[in-house]
Structure formats: C-alpha cells, structure tokens
Amino acid sequence: MRKDLLLVAVIVLIGVILFKGTKIQSVEEYYLTHIDDITRESETIKISIRVDAVLEHLDKIPESLRSEKYIPKDGIILEETEYVLRPGDTVFDVLLRATRHHKIPFDYQGSEENRFGSVYIKGINHLYEYDCGPLSGWMYTVNGEFPDEGVSKYKLEDGDVIAIQYTCDLGRDLGHPYDEKEVNP
C-alpha cells in the first residue's frame, strides 16, 4: 500500500514538471536569454523612433520613400518601448538593440570612420540624412534635451527616455532650443 502511494506521488510529480515547464539551463544560458527581461529590480530606459516631422514634408522626400512602409501615417517607426539598461549602455547600444530586435534597418557610420569619434546615424528604416532637404537627418533627445555628444558617447541612466527623431530642419521642427543667442552670443 505504501509503495503505491509513493508511485502515485512520483507520477504526480512528473506530471507537474511536465505541465509547469521543463526549462533546464546553465547559468550563462539563463543570463543570455533573460538579459533583457524586465524585473522589479531592473534598471530600464525607454526608446522610441519617430518620423513625424517628415509627414508635413512628404513632397520633399524621394518618391521611392513615400509609402506607409517607410513613413507610417502615425509617424511611429518604433513606439516607446522599455528596455533593460545594461551597465555602460550608450544611446547607440540601446538603439542598435532595439532596431535589431524589431528588424528595423539601421545604417550607421562607425566611430572610427568619421572625425567625431562617435557613431553617426545615417539611416533608419531606409530614411537617410538629407532625404528631406539639406537640413534633414536623425537627431535624438534624452528626457527631452538635445545632447551635444554623439550617440555612442552618451551614457544612459536608469529611467532615461530616449526619442530618436527625424528632422527636416536641423532640429527646429522638433523643438530644438536653438536660438540665435546660443549660436553667436
């Protein structure tokens, strides 16, 4: 009778394991597959990619780009998404991760290829600098501010909100606080 009980217990146990999932992972595997999981303790940032500024200048961009695929009607290429902030993350690291995870084409110039020593965003989702006129290109804000540094030089902090935005007017259409006084005081 006792043996029976034991057997029933074993069967129930196996059943429970089967039912509840059978993930058995090494530490490294666990780390890799859960690195971007957001838990209560995780430090996180938010990132979005938008092209709203282009919507008002659709006539200015090359015809080949005038489609919902490249310029969505709501201007959103990537809606605000939360990501785990890894130690030492720059805006570029997070942008690269986000675009790869969402399979958004992202073309950039490596920090060694230009003279600024920072990665330079050339195109996202097939939309490139100058596609909307001489003053157009990709800019970014962190918590609403326009930093002076390149994307791969700006180190992020917990809770930062990054907006990657396309401008057709060197940032003025994005509310860049770029007034004459600042340019030539």
């Binding site: 029976d4 993930k23 050339k122 003053l135 340019v183 030539n184």
Partner: protein, 632 residues
Amino acid sequence: MKKLSSALMILLANLLFMTAMTAEVDAKEELKNEIRDDIEQIIDWKKASFGLHAEQPLLSSQFLNHAGDASGDWYPFAIGRIGYPDDYRAYLAVVEDQVSKRYRKAHQLDESKATEWHRIALAILAVGGDPTNVGSDKNGEPINLIADGTYARAPDKPLDFQGINGLTWGLITLDSLGFKIPDDAGLTRDEIIMDILKRQLPDGGFSLNGTRTDPDITGMVIQALAPYYNSEKTYEYQLSRTNEQVAKTVRQVIDEALQALSNIQEDNGTFKSFGFENAESIVQVIVALTELGIDPTEDERFIKNGNNLIDALKSFQMEDGGFIHSKRYDPENPSADPNKSNSMASEQALYAFVALYRFYEGARTLFDFRQEMDADLKEAIDAIKADIDALPSTINESHKAKVEQLFNRYKAIPVTERRYVFNYYKLADAMEQLNIENDSEYIADHMGEVDRGNGAVTPLFTDEFHRGPIIFTAEDAKKVENLPEDLTTEHYGEVVRLLDKLENAENRDEYEHLIDHLLNMKEKIGEIEQEIEALNKEIMDDLFPFEELSVEDRDKINGIIERYNRLSDYDQQKIVNYEDVERAKAEIDSKARKQIVATVLGILFVLFTIWFVVRRRKKRREKEMEFIDLED
C-alpha cells in the same frame, strides 16, 4: 658740414630702413620655421596615435585602411600639399581600390553627399593622382570623381542636396585644377557661384541654417569664391533669406563676409561656432585669408587685442603636438575630454599651417592644384603688386597714365592667374575714380581649362624630396613573406600597397613570382570582406525576434557560429553584436533541451502510469484469487 650731415642722415636712414627690412624678413623666416615645426609635431602626434615611429611613413598599414573615409583623406591631402616625405603611392593605390570597390556596390559613395567625392578628389590630387581616372567601375570603365561629384550627379541628388557645403566644395573641386564643365552638363560655374551668393545673410556672412554668420561656413564660402575675387562680373539674384533683389560682384560679397567674420571674432582672436570657441573655426578663416592672399598676422581686421589668428589657433595645441576641438569641459560628459588631442581638430590645424606655409613661400594657394607658376610670371605679378601698392592713396587725373599702364600690365597676365594680383582691388578702385573703363574678362568664363590631369606633391617641406624610379626592395619582399598565412582584413592596406609598388617597380621582373601571391592575398581579403557582410546580413535576417526562433533554426545558427569561428579575431570584431548569435543559440538550445526533457518525462509518466495500473490490477487479481482460495 651741412651737406655732410644730410648725406650722413640719408645713409643712416637707408641703414635703418635696411635693418627694418631684414628684421621683417627674419621675422617671416622665423614664423615659417615655427609653422614647419607645428606641421611636424601634428604629423608625429598622428603617427604616434597609430603606433608609428616618427621615421615611419604615416601613409602605411593601419592608416591606409581608412583611405576613402572622412578620417583618412585629409591627412594625405595636407601633407601632400607641402611635400612632407611620405608614401603617397601607397595611399593612392589604396584609395583607388576603395573607390573602385564602392562603385561596384549598389551604393557607390554616399550618394546624397557630394562632398564625399570632393574630399577624395582633392586628396587624390594632393598626392599626385588624377581624380578623373580612378580605378574602374562595374563595367570596367575608369571612374571620374570630378564629373560624378559635380556636374554629372544623379538628377535627384544635385550638388546642393546636402546644402551649401555641396556647392562650396563642389566649386573648390572644379577649380582645383581648372576642370572644364561640358556644355551639355546643365550646370555652369556662374550658376554655382550665384547659388552660393544667394545664401548670404543680412549680416554679410553665411551659415548652414542659422540667421547669423557661422565662421566655418563663411570661411569655406570665401575659399570657394576666392578665385573670382578680381572678377568684374556683376551677378543679379534674389537673396533666399529676404527675397531682396540684389546686384553684386563676388568681391563685394567677400568683403562683406570678411567684415562679418571680423565682427564676430573674439577678443582672444578665436571664433565661436554653435556657441563655443573652437580650433576648426579659426582654421577655416585662416585658409580663407590665405586663399585671398591676406596675411593673417598683418590684417588689422583679424587682430584683436594683439591676438592674431595663428596665436589663437595655437592656443588649442596640446603638449603631444595634437590639437583639441574646444577648451570647455563638460562635467556631464567626461568623454569629451578637452585635454585630449582630437583627430579632426588636428587635421584641420595641419592644413591651416600648410596653407600658411604655402602663402609665406609664395606658392599657389592651398586649393589651387595647378603646376607652380614659372619664375617670369611670378616676377611680373610681384612687380604689378608692388606698383599698385605704390599708388598714392588719393588719386587724381595726374595718375591716369600710370593707372592705365598698370591695368594693361594686369590684363597681360593670363585670366586664371589674375587672382594672384591680390591687391588688384586698389587698381580697380583707382580706375573707377578716374572713370577708366574696366573691360577685364569675367574670370568664371575662363576657369575651365582642362578635362583631366594629375595633381602633384608640392616639394616645399624638404629639398630631399624626389621621385626616382620605383624599386621593389629586398625589404619589401620580406614584408610580403612576413604577411601571415591566415590573412585578415587588417592586412588590406599593406597588401594593396605592396602589390601596387611591385606592379609598377622598375625591377618588377626580379620579383615577378610575388605578384600572383599578392593578387591571391588581395582576393582572399576581398572574400573575407564579403563573408563578413554576408554574415552580418544573415544574422539580421534570421535571428530576430528571438521569441520566434525554433529548434528548426538550429542548423542555421550553428552554421553562422561555425563561420564566425573561422574568422580571425580582428575580423570577428566586424560582426555586429555577436552576442545576439550567442543568445539565439542559448534560446534554441534551451528550447531543444526542453523538448527532450519533456519527451523523456512524458515517456516516464506513461511508463509509470502503465506500471501502476498493471500493479493495481495484479494486486486486485491476487486478492480475488485469495478470496477464491478462501472460499474453496
């Protein structure tokens, strides 16, 4: 006694004058020597940053891998313009190969940036190459960077697609050697000039998009317009900012722009761009002045509180010889260290010093790549300049004959060389006062002189500079042998350099056997580059999103990993975010393991259940048997 003393006075005065003259000459010589030292220091700093000794050429190994990049073209440009002894052939070979490679790909150079073509064309000219005949495109045709970069651009990517920089650098590039624009090109020099003039701001300067003078952009505009400073052509156009209709000569616009620059110069001699004092703005103004033949140490407009532009630029130099961009320290961004020399600031400072050196040497300006003038022409120009300077400040009818004679001498100078009569404006002003008709030819109509042509390294830095026959040395052969069996893309520049040298060497026959070897190596490196590209693409296409990876993707991922492992450490760095592959592998592995464990557990579950049922039945039967036994 009286006579004697006056004779003595004259002698004394003469002596004083002579000493003053020699003092001035000495001061200029000293300044030139200082500039030479600065040039050498910057080059040494740059070499050191690539781990090279001062004796090694800068245009070697690692540096060559940047040929064709914004970071790799301005150094050869600058050092070629002064003839610093270096390996110019090597740079030319690699940049030609790079341009060819990029032309064979769909994207060519960066289509929307005409300045990519301009930068490479100017660097090729500076090292002695021909930018109209570079490597070969996908049809095997030679590439013409001048045409493709200026008048033969794609209709939807015109010269000013990227704004005013496309126009200014396009004009500089066209005028570098006096390239002709074909009649049917749909673009003329006058149109480019007018398109630049239109963008002048109400304060006299130019900017990228602001409404006030930006020193860098204004400096570059002046550099581009400088060859037309002496042209009497009046351009009629509408200002794009204010829609105001104006009629001006290039000279008027440049003078206004110079005044605008003078107005915004700081008390310490520097300029601010986007709100901050920086080295590059000073550089652009220095180069602009030298293009106009203005001595920055003498023009009062650009000396503030005794600080001239050269002093101001030097205040950005570091102990190591390099230059910093800006002196400001931003506590929120310690990575923009104001104490660390910066490549862009240093390369621009380098070419400012080269422009100055050329100016004090009496050589052509930095962006005038034509063969240096012969001595007779130079002498004629110097004589006219001296005579113009000797004209009295107030002109009256009595000077008419003298002025007319000077103007005739000016007109005897070839049109495209007249820009070197830097003080011609004084003559033109005098003519206007005397109502003498000025019928000098419009310069823009004459600027197109050649269809193609080579630049040349200007041997100013050292007399030892000579271009003998190319000899492939035993040392070179050893370098070939020392290249590792397992090549990486790191060796690209070196292989192209050695191959080019051997193919063009006088003693090519001696080492003929190495040519195939080097060609193979070059091909292998090309294959590695393609493999890196293919891997990056496959990773992007196949991995994401991770949640959708399944066990069926296992072979694909393992294949990618295998191929990655075959790459050298150096090339593995070129795989973007390899971590993603490791993660994909982990995802798939745990999914696979989950499946196996689930299967094993499932089987166990079934087995145990069967066993349990069988056991129960058996027991029951035994009990029944017992019962039957009992009944019996």
